[in-house]
Amino acid sequence: MEKIGYFCTFTPKELIRAAGFTPVRILAGDRRINLANAHIQSYCCSQVKGCLENLLTGNLDIEGAVFTRSCDSLMRLTDIWEMNSKMEVYDLEFPTKIDENSRGYLMKELYDFKNWLEKLSGEEISLDDLKGSIDLYDELEEILGKIYSIKPDYELILKAETQDVEEVIEEGKKRLEELENSKNPQARVLVTGSVCPFLEVYELIESVGFTIVDDLCTGTRFFRSDAQKPRMEKMEDAMFFLIDKYFLKAPCPTKEYGRDRRFNYLLERAEEADGVIFLLLKFCEPHFFDYSQLKNELGNRGKRTLLLELEFPIASYEQQRTRLEAFHEMVVG
C-alpha cells in the first residue's frame, strides 16, 4: 500500500486507511538538523525541524502529507512542506475549540478530506471500507489500552504509528500475553508531554527504577478515547463516530475544552502515580504554557515533579540520568 504521512494524533487515520493508503506518522529522526535550518528559524521546536529535515534529506517514502493546525509551528510547516516537495499536501482544519458547535464544522472538514483522499486514490471510499478501517483501529486501540494499563510499550506505539495496523495487532496480542505474566512493584511516575520517538528516553526512566504511567502524544494520546462505537449504517454514522472518537480522545493541550478538561484529566491521571515527569520539547508552546500552573497544582496535591526539556536528536542521556536518579530518590525516599 502507498503511504500518507501525518503529524498530529487528531488526524483521522481511519479515513486514510479506508482510502487504501497506509497512514504513517512523521516524526523527527536521528539526524542532526542541517538542511531544515535554511527553511525555518532556530526557535522552532525540533519535532517540526526534524520532520522537515527528513523531508529535505529524501528520507520519506510517502505520497502525500496531511497537516492539522495543532500549533502555530505545524500550521506554518504546511506551506513550507508544500513548497519544498512534490507530494500532495492537505490541511485538515481540525477545530481548536471542542464543543457542540465545532462538531458540525468538523463533519464538513471530514467530508472534504474524504473527497481529497478519493481523488488521490481514484476510488470512492465505501461505508464498508471505512467501517473495516474503524474496526481495525478499534481492535488495535483495545490491545494498546490493555498494555498501557500495565506498562507502556513505546516501541509498539512506534510500530502502530508507522506500519500497517493489521501487522501491529498481531504483534500487540503477543506482547500483551507476555506482559500479563510479569508484575511490576516499582514506583510509578506519570510522564506527560508531546512527542518523543526516542525509545532510549523511556528506557532511561525505567532503568532508574520507575514504572511509567503515560500521557504522551506518542503514547496514550495516540490511541485512548472514551467514544463508544455505534451501529454504523450510513456514511454519516461512521463520520459521526470519528468526530466522537477524536473529540473524546485523551485531551491535548493544543485544544480548548470547556471546564478545563485537559488540566483535570492530567491531575486525575497523576493520582495513579507517585511523581510526575514533564517530558517537554524545547519551544513547545502548548505544553510550556500549561507547565507552571500544572506544576503548582501538582505540588499542592503532594506530587513531586521534574522537568526534562528535550531537543531532538538527543545529544546525551547522561545528564538526564543523574537528574532522574536524584528524582527517583526523592519520590521513593
Binding site: 495543532s70 509551528s73 506544576k295
Partner: protein, 393 residues
C-alpha cells in the same frame, strides 16, 4: 545622528491612550481581548476592552519587558514563550506595570486568527483570575476561504452574543451593533488613508509613525476616537506633502517592514534609517488592521465572520507573499526589512519562503518584539548596514 521628525499626532495619541487606560480604572465590566478579536461586540454591550498585547507593546517601548517577563519566568513560564504573554503574566503577578497594571478581567475573549498562542495564554489567565474564557476559533485559511469556515465562525459569533448576554444580563442590541460596526469601518478607512500617505515620494511618514499611532485602531475600533484622530493625522501628513517635507531628509531608499515592531528599539532603528536616508514607507503589521474593514456580506454578523477569518496572520504563505508584493508595488519599495521575531511563530516561520517569492532584495534581522535580552545590537547593525550598502550599489 539624524533627527527624527515627530508628528504632532503623537501627542494627541498619547492623550487618547491615556484616557483609554484611565477608562479601565473606572471599575465597569471589562474583558481582556486579543488584538485580532472582533471588539465591536464588546463595545456594543458596553464592555470595556482591555488589550494585553497593547500593554505588552507598551512595556516593551518602556523597556521594562525583561523586568516583567522575568517575574513570569521565575514562576516557571519558559523564556521561549511569547514575550507579550510573559510580560503580561509577570505584570499580573506583580500587580504593576508602567500604567499600574491592567484591571482584573470579568472574562476573557480570545480569537486565534492571530495565533494559537493566545488560546494557551488566555487559558492561563482564565485559571489565574478564575474567570470564563470565550474562544472564537477561526480555522487556518491556507488556500481559499471555504463556506464551511465562514459558517463555523458565524455560528460561534451567535454563541458569543449569547455568552455576552448571559454575563452582562443585557440584551444584544442589533441596531446599536450595526452602528458600532459602521464606526469601526469608518475608523479603518480613515486609518487606511493615513497609511496610504506613505505612497507619496518622499513619504510624509515612516512605519514608526504608524506603530506609535496604531493604538486607536486596535483598542478603540468601533468608537469615534480613531475616526477623528486619523482624519487629523492625515491632514498633518497632507501638509507635509504639500510642503514637500519627507519624514526622512533626502529620502533615497524606500523600505517595507515585516512583522511586529521591536518596541524597545523604535527610536534607535528610526534614527538608523533616517541617517541612511532610508524611509520605511509601509509595513505588513499596521496594514493588517485594514483587513477588518473588508465586509462583503450584507449581514453584519456573517460579514464579520468573513472579514476576521482570513486576516494576514491566518492565511497561507503564498497569499502572504502576494500581499507583500502588492505593498511593494503600491508603495514603490526598494527593499524589505524582515524582523524574525522569536516571540511570534506564525508571523516569522515561513519568512524564508516568502523571501523567495518577493521580487526585490530583503534582509532578515533576528530579534524579539518585547524581550531586549535576545537582541544583539551589533549583529542587527551589521546586517542592516550591509543591506543599505547593497541597495545603494
Amino acid at each position: 545622528m539624524g533627527k527624527v521628525k515627530k508628528l504632532s499626532a503623537n501627542q494627541r495619541m498619547g492623550e487618547i491612550l491615556q484616557s483609554y487606560y484611565l477608562e479601565g480604572l473606572k471599575g465597569g465590566m471589562n474583558s481582556w481581548i486579543t488584538s485580532g478579536g472582533p471588539v465591536e461586540f464588546l463595545y456594543a454591550m458596553d464592555i470595556y476592552p482591555v488589550y494585553p498585547e497593547n500593554h505588552g507593546a507598551l512595556m516593551g517601548a518602556a523597556k521594562v519587558g525583561p523586568k516583567f517577563a522575568s517575574i513570569a519566568e521565575k514562576e516557571g513560564f519558559s523564556q521561549d514563550l511569547c514575550s507579550y504573554a510573559r510580560s503580561d503574566i509577570g505584570s499580573a503577578i506583580a500587580g504593576d506595570s508602567p500604567v499600574g497594571g491592567l484591571p482584573k478581567p470579568n472574562f476573557l475573549f480570545s480569537c486565534n486568527n492571530i495565533c494559537n498562542t493566545v488560546v494557551k495564554w488566555y487559558q492561563v489567565l482564565s485559571r489565574m483570575f478564575k474567570v470564563p474564557h470565550f474562544l472564537l476559533d477561526t480555522p487556518f485559511v491556507r488556500k481559499e476561504l471555504k463556506e464551511s469556515h465562514i459558517d463555523y465562525v458565524e455560528s460561534q459569533l451567535y454563541d458569543l452574543i449569547e455568552f455576552l448576554e448571559k454575563i452582562t444580563g443585557n440584551e444584544f442590541d442589533e441596531s446599536r451593533f450595526s452602528r458600532i460596526l459602521m464606526s469601526s469601518i469608518e475608523g479603518i478607512n480613515a486609518y487606511r488613508e493615513v497609511l496610504q500617505m506613505g505612497r507619496h515620494k518622499p513619504s510624509p511618514l515612516t512605519c514608526f509613525d504608524g506603530f506609535i499611532n496604531m493604538a486607536p485602531i486596535v483598542c478603540l475600533r468601533g468608537t469615534e476616537a480613531p475616526i477623528g484622530f486619523y482624519k487629523e493625522m492625515r491632514k498633518e501628513l497632507e501638509e507635509r506633502v504639500k510642503n514637500g517635507v519627507g519624514a526622512v531628509d533626502d529620502e533615497e531608499i524606500r523600505l517595507l517592514w515585516d512583522n511586529i515592531p521591536i518596541w524597545y528599539r523604535l527610536r534607535g532603528l528610526s534614527e538608523f534609517f533616517s541617517d541612511h536616508n532610508a524611509c520605511l514607507v509601509a509595513d505588513t503589521y499596521t496594514n493588517a488592521w485594514t483587513d477588518f474593514g473588508e465586509l462583503s456580506s450584507s449581514d453584519p454578523i456573517r460579514g464579520i465572520a468573513e472579514a476576521y477569518a482570513p486576516i494576514y496572520l491566518n492565511i497561507g504563505l503564498e497569499r502572504m507573499a502576494e500581499i507583500v508584493n502588492r505593498l511593494i508595488d503600491t508603495y514603490g519599495v526598494d527593499g524589505v526589512v524582515i524582523h524574525s521575531n522569536r516571540s511570534c511563530k506564525p508571523y516569522s516561520f515561513g519568512q524564508y519562503e516568502i523571501q523567495k517569492m518577493i521580487d526585490i532584495p530583503s534582509v532578515v534581522i533576528e530579534a524579539d518584539m518585547t524581550d531586549s535580552r535576545v537582541f544583539s545590537e551589533a549583529q542587527v547593525q551589521t546586517r542592516l548596514e550591509a543591506f543599505m550598502e547593497m541597495l545603494r550599489s
